[in-house]
Symmetry: C2
Subunit: 622 residues, 2 copies
């Protein structure tokens, strides 16, 4: 096995076989780009059929319905779709991840038997209708109602006004026939919080059903192969059985019951089952970023500009320090995030199989929120950088980066706005994932912390033993992994402790103002935490790499990840006496040197991603 | 006059009347968005006719041809188009700025008389064919040839291979009939460097002329209303009179003559006449950024999310510190750049009217390069932020931000790649704009500096007297303008001096390596310089504001610009002992407080931009 293969094997990880199978399936699709909107939508729907026939959706669904019950695998196979057409990937995510996933997670046996086969085969295209025009991040306050009418044994689903329309709903504008509608459940005059109800929206002929109004969201910045739309319901009646009743049921007489005590706790339990969506977005963002890097680095290796003095040869642009600076730290971050994602998928997979454990579940949700935010911002930033690094060629549709940029842009705000998600991360850290089910509004955190004597504990992740070893024997050399780990850990602890002290000053009356004044501090705390978790995942991956030469290469990539992360936040390290001015400059110098040292390996590092050549074919790389 | 009007008057500046007229003309156009490509192209061409009829192109052309000879005004009227459809703006820039501008600047009397009337009226649509597939930034090395044949008295224009195709050329794919083709001029077997030749490319019926191959660049990330294409020439013959011969002429017998000595010097002189293009792009980027900020701030003032504890009301999102942090420093930067742009347009206007002055011309080119880079990166960054600040709504075409993002993305690399431009800025600073006409390759700088005893001199801009006063009486308070000015100036000087020391170590043999190792230092030096020039322009603008209350508001905006700029680079100030850790944290705290203080004025600050309401009409602001 050569070094590239060894790298690739490590990247493939636990689900290697499934990953290779998904790559093969993707490789069979015929790439397209820049189709007009309606053609693109039709193409995507057609490919959905190909994916269904190829067995793509089976991975994550229950064995009882013909699936493979492999939750982690379903995220991995989705991640692979991120190398292909991103509209197709999102449509697959909507149909099998969100819509199918909600039926699976929130429904019970009869729902599974009745709907999952058609969902898997694409005979029953459907929608996940959660977001409303007026409420995106604050799901708890959405305003569609599902009111039980005991006389008829039906729920009446209703949209009170324009702000309560379901908005940006994938599969709604063209193809969806059934929707999982999130609504405030009312029975016997009492509200029981947000629940999910199945509402048919189109007949077999594709026409909206009575009482259902469907609008098209129209052209979007990207993802125009996905038919996003708006759904409004005018007193639409559905049978009682359409309530997805795993966490909340209504008896024929209207009596409400739930296995979960308390409306807040129930709400978070239901949302928690949907955590896979966020993890999938992080993975997809990772794939798109890898693809942009592969395109930009291939181009940077052949593009020449300006002649070198003396020789008269034109210089390959990747030989310029600024070009290396733009692309190589980003590449190192993509490696780091890849391994963190793999670890997260493991955690999801194990949580799914294991016993219900509230603390573990909350930690998983927090990790998912954090990694989704960091991965999607990394995608937006890096793909933009790749576009610029390719100059005018990067702006042309035929060279694919423009499409990646347009399609991934929404990732930073869908499946949870990144800014809101990072606040949830900080909340989890400060409350140590206790069984705390306060409001979703972030200043609940301030009130909560104010009431507690919180001690910040940095819990190490998977690679605990390795990291302990590296830290305990470490010197103060910049390239000493133990030193790097200590910096990440120390920063996280210090930022969190400072935040806890600030928030503890809040009283009942000024909780909002205290929280708001500290909001940038909150985001920094979350960010420092995610950075540390990502570094530890990278360290663990290097440790399990059996090939010596691949390991040596990864060690340098890990150095670049660690030092460029410290460099980006070096003002903090300087402000808090963690770096002297001299040493801070040395960090920047070390990043420059690592860029130079890794430049000859750049092409190999992107080749190891194993992106199907057909999906990289562009004039820019020809 | 109320405060908003006073602000607007100050923003309108010297060309207020012309600006209002251009706004009126733009206001008469019917906004469109998300048209299919061919429809969009047709719409844009139609509107070009409306602009021509409305007198838009007359501003900048010579009085002798019916124009107004107002160079500065032509940049301002172009800037106004940036509030409208950006494809239309770019098409106008191609036709009247680049194509018409090149005929005007590089041609002589007969060219003017023969072509300018048709260019202005749009009877003669044309192209500016400079960039080749293989050479964008390095214009000096482009490879199309124009070889004079004395037997026929013609030039033979030829594309030797695929890399020498003219690429990304606006107006080429659909509408252009004549092209200004930049080519290596050869006569009598001798090369005389890059010159511009007029080459007809299409007949009256719109068909390519013999020997001319035209390709369509196809779909782009944005600006799809502009018909970018590729031009190749197979020994195409044009009359000798088609050479734009102001800076280089060929006699019937093939003898070459030029009023400018030396090929390098001639090349830079010719390029220098095209500086208006870069200045125009900076202005256009400014307009698009203002529009995105206007949309995002209007939305942020009405969008509510999460309930406030106690009251139960939902919080307006602009009340969140993070939301203020994302939008308000960006708004302050837009103000700052606006005033710097106004100053630059003045300098262009005066240079045009005045005597030829090499040093002044080089300084103008450097200023244009720097402001173009900083303004277009500010646009890319800010429009992205605005998109995210509007969540899913920001991703929909109907809300306009998606289009702004897609259309402006290419600004960072067209009319000169920003990274290359900043290197030119640094070069100018280190060589003090001497009459130095070395190669365009940036390490010429290293060689040059190595040979000189360079003293770095910070020359203050327009507002010298005011700034001297502010600096000399200044305290060390963060909000003291004199202190802020000193920080900007001190940073620029220190970074430049350090750079000069590094580059001076270079020898003939290692110039490339020394330069390359310092490349990030070079970019930082340029950036520090541009920041200082921008701050001084802002200070001068505040000083000339007659309305006390508008002035008080602008003072706070200027504080936010200055302190957020220092904050973004505070690692440097810490590393170099310019800020203590305590003071550095105080800068961040001051930025937070300024955000809170300016939040009530945010809407007024964007209203003062005077963007026509029709071009802001979107569901998001309804």
């Amino acid at each position: 096995m050569n070094r590239t293969e060894a790298l690739r094997e490590l990247l493939d990880g636990h689900w290697a076989e499934l990953r290779r199978g998904s790559l093969d399936l993707l490789g069979k699709l015929e790439p397209v780009h820049d189709l007009p909107r309606e053609e693109h939508r039709a193409w995507v729907l057609e490919q959905m059929g190909v994916l269904a026939e190829g067995g793509h959706p089976l991975t994550g669904f229950p064995v009882a319905q013909g699936g493979h019950g492999d939750v982690g695998g379903s995220v991995v196979s989705f991640e692979v779709l991120g190398f292909g057409d991103l509209s197709l990937m999102v449509k697959a995510g909507v149909q099998w991840g969100l819509f199918g996933g909600a039926v699976q997670a929130l429904g019970t046996g009869e729902h599974h038997a009745r709907y999952l086969p058609g969902i898997m085969s694409m005979e029953l295209p459907g929608c996940f209708a959660m977001t409303e025009t007026g409420h995106g991040s604050d799901v708890q306050h959405l305003r569609t109602t599902a009111t039980y009418d005991p006389a008829s044994g039906e729920f009446v689903v209703h949209t009170p006004d324009r702000d309560a329309r379901k908005d940006y709903i994938g599969n709604a504008a063209r193809d969806g026939r059934l929707a999982v509608v999130f609504a405030q459940l009312v029975t016997g005059g009492e509200q029981h919080g947000v629940h999910a109800v199945l509402v048919p929206i189109r007949d077999e002929g594709g026409n909206p059903l009575p009482g259902v109004t469907i609008e098209d969201c129209g052209p979007k910045a990207g993802l125009n192969g996905v038919d996003n739309g708006r759904l409004s319901f005018d007193h639409v009646r559905v049978p009682r059985a359409n309530l997805l009743d795993r966490y909340g049921a209504v008896a024929p007489d209207g009596t409400y019951s739930s296995p979960v005590e308390g409306a807040n706790r129930r709400f978070f339990t239901m949302l928690g089952t949907l955590v896979r969506g966020r993890i999938s977005v992080a993975g997809a963002a990772g794939s798109a970023t890898k693809k942009a890097l592969a395109l930009a680095i291939r181009y940077a290796e052949k593009r020449r500009q300006f002649t070198r003095p003396g020789t008269g040869d034109e210089v390959v642009v990747l030989d310029y320090l600024t070009h290396q600076r733009r692309l190589l730290p980003a590449l190192a971050h993509s490696y780091a995030l890849h391994f963190a994602q793999e670890e997260l998928v493991h955690a999801l997979h194990e949580a799914h199989g294991g016993e219900q454990d509230d603390r573990r579940q909350r930690e998983l949700e927090s990790r998912a929120a954090g990694l989704k935010a960091v991965s999607t911002w990394h995608a937006t930033h890096t793909i933009q950088t790749c576009r610029e690094a390719c100059g005018g060629a990067g702006y042309l549709g035929e060279n694919l980066i423009a499409g990646l940029k347009a399609d991934t842009d929404v990732f930073t705000t869908f499946e949870g706005d990144n800014t809101v998600l990072l606040q949830l991360v900080a909340k989890g850290l400060l409350t140590s994932y206790r069984d705390h089910v306060g409001d979703l509004d972030p200043w609940g955190m301030a009130r909560f912390v104010a009431d507690q004597a919180v001690g910040v504990v940095i819990e190490r992740t998977a690679a605990r033993a390795i990291i302990d070893r590296l830290v305990s024997g470490s010197s103060d050399a910049l390239l000493d992994r133990g030193w790097q780990l200590r910096q990440f850990e120390d920063r996280e602890r210090h930022v969190l402790e400072g935040l806890a002290r600030r928030l503890r000053r809040a009283s009942e009356d000024d909780a909002f103002d205290v929280f708001n004044a500290a909001q940038d501090h909150v985001l920094h705390a979350a960010r420092a935490h995610v950075d540390r978790v990502v570094l530890e995942a990278f360290v663990a991956a290097v440790d399990r790499c059996a090939d010596a030469s691949a390991r040596e290469l990864l060690d340098r990539v890990c150095d670049l990840y660690a030092l460029s992360t410290i460099e980006a936040d070096r003002a903090w390290f300087l402000e808090h006496g963690r770096l002297t001015p001299q040493r801070s400059k040395a960090v920047s110098q070390a990043v420059n040197e690592l860029c130079g040292a890794l430049r000859p390996d750049a092409r190999e590092l992107v080749d190891a991603f194993g992106i199907p050549e057909g999906w990289l074919a562009a004039p820019i790389t020809a």
